[in-house]
Subunit: 225 residues, 4 copies
């Protein structure tokens, strides 16, 4: 890996920029989800009906909103987890990150699609597009990480190899599991949607607290002296 | 709390990142509120009617817009106030912050709901959802702060304990007072909405100028030499 | 002004945060303007009519878009110009800045209103709301600057007093001139709209290149050695 | 260029601010594109028709979305590429950057226009507006770079002149090639749209990996020791 000292500051600035742009995209995508929640028009509400039941009838929209919010949040956490170990950038890396962001900004569309069709005979197609989007995100994450770490060329020289290996191991499960969620969409929609939510939880916690945002912390989450 | 010197820079960078992402979400949520303000279509305006009265008829939308803007602004100020004292992060903290952001991004929906139903027989439900959202935000703020400060594990070693205590004391009032606003929604809607606005003012000023953004300043807001 | 050395870094970090949040709000408000541009539905376009004329008929929307974009851009430049001289923050300053951001995020609404009504008998009301919004922004800018500089308590100790005085002098013109644009709206709409645009140009250039973003540069815009 | 040491830090801070604001605008513009993707209403879907074919019928919207996302991403990469060499700012530069951002925030409109009209007899006008917007962006990029580098006054004193020259050379092609895409719109729409996509690829790769984000790296994208 040789000495990178004189360029280290510039490198860190460059990955900092990519992170700042990515953070902006994640923050906007996660906030735009709320635009899918539609207020029932007061003029369309029959005079003796209740607003509360009109809202409760929208449960698929709220469910899709919650799952998508949680998933984008977990993806943001994972994105930073990768960048904790990455210190340099190049052209290919930049566009692999762009590919990931492409699917992240796309998430509001399958979310709205799932909400619209979850109680419709065509629910399976909507669930397949939903799980398929997350499958594409899992592939993009894996490509990004494999490229950065696989040839070892973009990692921080001080990166803890056991943590790098742990991420590589965890990411091995992403694509096949999201592919399974995609296939499940054609069999039983609730199983597919439930699996997407379970995978968000998996990627939130599987990477154990130790590896996220505090690589140097001990088992109890306290910073070691 | 032991020496954290070698990790201090990395810690500060990590909380800086969480703040930057949170700032993005606050900035977008506060700016999206304007999308709820609808321009009356010129073709629907009867030729002898006045635009000014068509706009004034929309007062509930403008009122809800102003209250929500003020509340999100105050929440942003409070978020930074907390992060003035927090220097480290861990997994749980990250997701508690995510929970808070979830309800912040949700605010445009109850705002639009309240604006649509405030003059409708179902106004109480809309006001309850509105106050309930702020109740959830108060709970999230309290959880976030209690977790960071309660076990004292994420605070800056140099944090002024009297200020930490003052925040803890103030946050004790948040959940019960917003719960009261929620209950009031079923009794008298204007009281509930007015209380939400009053609480925004309370959380803006109760924490006295000393504790916000200038912990070292004196009573008169001037920086002490 | 006494020595602020030990707190200087923290102060700069605090104003940096306010700037970052404000930048986010400016960036979102300026980008949301495009949502007012509506694509004419292809199904509503008569088969023998031209798309180009359907687009040209929308000229008020494009005009309002251009003026609002230019004005928000100039306001962003001016916001930074102020923060070049401001190094500390306190509670009042924070909420005066929030007041300014409130009117900035509001801009997309009067922009859409003006575009909808500029060829309607009620155009004067729309133009008055439009100019009135900029009047409120001018007031907010003046309050923010007067508070920071007037009692001199938030300025950088190294701030060039002649520049500070120049800003104060220029800002004296903002509120009365925008008030004039507001009054003009009831007399002759094109004069009011034209004046809003002219004032954006005035605030872009009046403050001469020297004072914006490169206080140390010479007459020719070159950095002095 | 004389010594700029005492002002170097301030200069870098100033261009950093312009970059941060520009990044915000790019991030929002790229994320807003998804709002053009419309979910087909379930109530309008005939009971025996398939959701998948309803989605596939929307291919022009998805195509326009992909091309616009790719183009904005490439523009963001190029914007940073320029700022790698720029260290100072002045008034004119600031407004040239604003002109560029104006056309970037405009992109969602021609994207929606192209998607709506690509299968309509008026497709040529839509494609002309689409290519014309990118032509305007190419002109703005060239103006921005020529101003910064042409008189050499805003570049980093340490900027590698061969890289500066390479950018200048590449940017010579932008305006005439996008003008060709604009003219092609009136001849054969797919050729114009295809050329816009090809030019995004050209500007992504023509500037060879060496010059983007890792000026010091060798042919293989690895950082040189």
């Amino acid at each position: 890996m040789s000495s990178v000292a004189p360029d280290a500051e510039r490198d860190e600035k460059e990955t900092g920029r990519i992170e700042a742009f990515s953070d902006g995209v994640f923050a906007i995508a996660i906030t735009l989800l709320v635009l899918d929640l539609k207020v029932p028009h007061s003029s369309e509400l029959p005079p003796d009906s209740r607003l509360i039941s009109a809202l409760l009838k929208q449960w698929p929209t709220f469910l899709a909103y919650v799952i998508s919010f949680a998933t984008i949040l977990v993806m943001w956490v994972n994105h930073h987890r990768l960048f904790n170990h990455i210190r340099r950038s190049n052209h290919t890396f930049l566009f692999l990150n762009g590919l990931l962001l492409f699917f992240v900004t796309f998430v509001p569309f399958p979310t709205a699609l799932l909400a619209e069709y979850i109680r419709h005979p065509e629910a399976r197609v909507a669930a397949a597009v939903y799980a398929g989007t997350y499958f594409a995100i899992a592939i993009s994450f894996t490509l990004l990480w494999r490229y950065a770490a696989g040839r070892g060329q973009l990692l921080d020289a001080r990166a803890d190899l056991s943590q790098v290996e742990a991420i590589t191991k965890q990411y091995r499960y992403g694509p096949p599991l999201y592919l399974l969620a995609f296939v499940l969409a054609f069999v039983y929609v609730p199983a597919s949607v439930g699996m997407c939510f379970a995978l968000a939880v998996f990627f939130a916690f599987k990477g154990s607290p130790k590896q996220i945002f505090a690589p140097q912390s001990g088992e109890d989450g306290r910073i070691k002296p």
